[in-house]
């Protein structure tokens, strides 16, 4: 109750209600998220159920074009799956991977960043050099490497089953230094403050000082980074799927849908690539706009020139 009251009167809510871009982005994001996670209920078809797919329905154009069918509003892809349903299911996978990978990055990055910033000295040097090394490999390279190895060892069938956790892991591992550096920088600023010294005089263990005292005061840069990183992870996943290293075609994400349609784009079936592409752009755009707004609210000292 108290928390709700504080939220009602907070600057956060006030600035949200006075920023049409933020409200619009939030509305679209909420709508997309609901649509994605409600896909089993609201989607007209189930693209995972192979018994309902008929290859004879393949490459049907959207309903408003010549040859379109009422049954398939946005047309069908090369395998006869309804585009709208496949996109909703695909967006669900994209969102799960995006949020999951960001959580993974955040957990690794926050723990290592806190340690590096608070302990300092050799621990700090070691962890930050590790982060530098990690950053010098691009996300795609790490992912290509690992998925090639994974597929070679466990086989393609196992990869298709474990694709989601695998992608979360790969994108999580490849991008943790972003968090570690942000957290470290803010820990370095916080740990000099007197409330941390007071906690040390109290004899509190280092782990508790880091979690209970320093971390809550470093949350705003972490929040800002998270919004950017979710969008980034979704894009990484799309890029990997587009390259054929991400989600398999039987369980397509937005990226693999774009990829699968790419082969048909010159035969005139542009909708297979176009619609998932537009949806992906919209999704990332609203997340980034929201992230921008969060950054403005939490970092009032940051002026945009």
């Amino acid at each position: 109750m108290r928390l709700w009251k504080r939220f009602r009167s907070s600057y956060f809510l006030y600035s949200f209600l006075h920023d049409p871009v933020a409200m619009g982005s939030f509305a679209i994001l909420a709508f997309l998220t609901l649509a994605a996670f409600g896909a089993p209920v609201i989607a007209p078809h189930n693209p995972y159920d192979t018994t309902t797919i008929n290859i004879m329905d393949s490459e049907i154009p959207p309903v408003w074009m010549e040859g379109g069918e009422q049954n398939f509003t946005l047309g069908t892809d090369a395998q006869g799956r309804d585009m709208l349903s496949t996109m909703l299911y695909g967006m669900r996978i994209s969102l799960i991977i995006g949020v999951g990978a960001t959580l993974m990055q955040a957990v690794i990055g926050i723990v290592l960043g806190l340690l590096a910033g608070y302990k300092g000295g050799r621990v700090d040097s070691f962890l930050m050099r590790m982060a530098d090394v990690q950053l010098s490999f691009s996300t795609l390279m790490v992912a290509i490497f690992l998925s090639a190895i994974f597929q070679a060892i466990f086989g393609v069938a196992a990869f298709e089953r474990l694709a989601v956790p695998f992608l979360v892991l790969v994108i999580g591992i490849a991008e943790w230094p972003q968090y570690a550096r942000t957290v470290r920088a803010s820990v370095l600023a916080e740990k000099k403050k007197e409330y941390v010294e007071a906690a040390r005089v109290m004899g509190l263990p280092a782990a508790r000082i880091m979690w209970r005292h320093i971390l809550p005061n470093s949350m705003s840069p972490i929040l800002v980074l998270s919004t950017v990183q979710v969008a980034h992870a979704i894009m990484s996943e799309a890029a990997l799927s587009f390259l054929g290293l991400g989600m398999p075609i039987t369980k397509p994400s937005l990226g693999s849908l774009i990829n699968s349609g790419f082969d048909y784009i010159f035969s005139g079936s542009w909708w297979i690539t176009m619609f998932p592409g537009i949806l992906l752009v919209l999704l990332i755009l609203v997340i980034n706009l929201l992230g921008d707004w969060v950054q403005d609210v939490l970092n009032p000292k940051l002026y945009k020139g």
Partner: protein, 338 residues
């Protein structure tokens, strides 16, 4: 001073801070050969001090003379480079964090900046409950809450405000909460690091009275770090004067204010403005404070002292008891030149 009465004993404490930076910053070329240099700030040089049970020992000195470093070293926030710190005749500077815990409870600190010393993301209740439930895990939740309310009342903050965040309080109230946090664990010794410097003058008196009130009520011993000499005169039992990381003079308040012995103390005290005095009658020192990175040899004060002789440039003076009971580190005093 007898040993039995001393609560905290600081013996020959030296604290040097390494500021030489990373490997590349340390490489220097001397005579054509590369060598590694270390730059250290000599914050404390061989400081020995006994703090007697029940007293308020003030530590005074100008900015950068090592007062705060001394306070923080005593509490173990900085490990001393050499020397010993003892609490009730038990050496505490070499204990592990776990062994140190019972002493953490006995020794607390009040900080200078009431705006930085309270965690902005915790309510006052959380700030005050944390040390209690950490050091007294046997207490039930309601006992801890009772204690919070009791201590809040003692420091003059309404317990009904416990659910608020520090930013909702004024500077003086925050300093009261900061004192309450130190009192939560029933300490015997409190280091107060310029607790009133950041406050409005009208609030300073209230906080000073609270500090003295707590001393009477709980039998506390204070190490009171400040640069405000009129405050020192008001509250201290004894005063330690520091200059450039060295203890110059340790005297009873009356002695120091009546007849300061060490040349630096004389200069310092003559600089207190007096109501009704005309012109500048204070003793002027020449030059600037030398940097603690390159300490002058011999007596650290010799570059500015009006009584400097050859011996002062060579030999570091030891703290000696003078006829009036004060203790001062000065060759000129020892030789009877001043």
């Amino acid at each position: 001073m007898t040993d039995s009465k001393s609560l905290v004993r600081i013996s020959n404490v030296v604290k040097h801070f390494d500021i030489s930076g990373g490997f590349l910053d340390r490489i220097s070329f001397s005579g054509g050969r590369p060598s590694l240099t270390t730059t250290t700030v000599k914050a404390l040089n061989d400081v020995s001090l006994d703090i007697t049970q029940g007293e308020i020992l003030s530590v005074v000195g100008e900015s950068g003379c090592g007062k705060s470093t001394l306070g923080r070293t005593v509490l173990g926030l900085y490990p001393p480079t050499s020397g010993e710190i003892a609490f009730r005749d038990t050496r505490i500077d070499n204990l592990s964090a776990r062994q140190m815990l019972p002493y953490r409870r006995k020794m607390q600190m009040v900080f200078q900046d009431p705006y930085a010393s309270l965690n902005p993301r915790m309510t006052v209740r959380q700030i005050l409950e944390e040390p209690t439930s950490f050091h007294f895990p046997d207490l039930s939740r309601s006992q801890v809450q009772d204690k919070v309310a009791e201590v809040m009342r003692q420091v003059g903050v309404d317990p009904a405000w416990a659910g608020r965040y520090p930013h909702e309080f004024s500077g003086g109230q925050r300093q009261r909460i900061s004192i309450a946090r130190a009192l939560m664990v029933d300490p015997e010794f409190i280091v107060a690091d310029e607790p009133i410097s950041a406050l409005d003058v009208s609030i300073q008196a209230q906080i000073l009275n609270l500090i003295m009130d707590c001393q009477e009520r709980f039998g506390l011993t204070y190490m009171f770090i400040t640069h405000d000499l009129s405050v020192v005169e008001h509250i201290s039992t004894r005063v330690a004067v520091m200059y450039l990381g060295t203890l110059c003079e340790l005297a009873d308040k009356k002695n120091l204010y009546g007849e300061p012995q060490h040349p630096y103390s004389r200069a310092l005290l003559s600089a207190i403005p007096r109501l009704g005095s005309k012109g500048f009658s204070h003793m002027r020192l020449k030059g600037e404070v030398p940097t603690p990175i390159n300490l002058p040899p011999g007596c650290v004060f010799h570059t500015r002292c009006p009584f400097t002789e050859e011996r002062c440039r060579r030999e570091i003076p030891a703290l000696r008891t003078l006829p009036n009971g004060s203790r001062a580190a000065c060759h000129a005093l020892e030789e009877g030149r001043i």
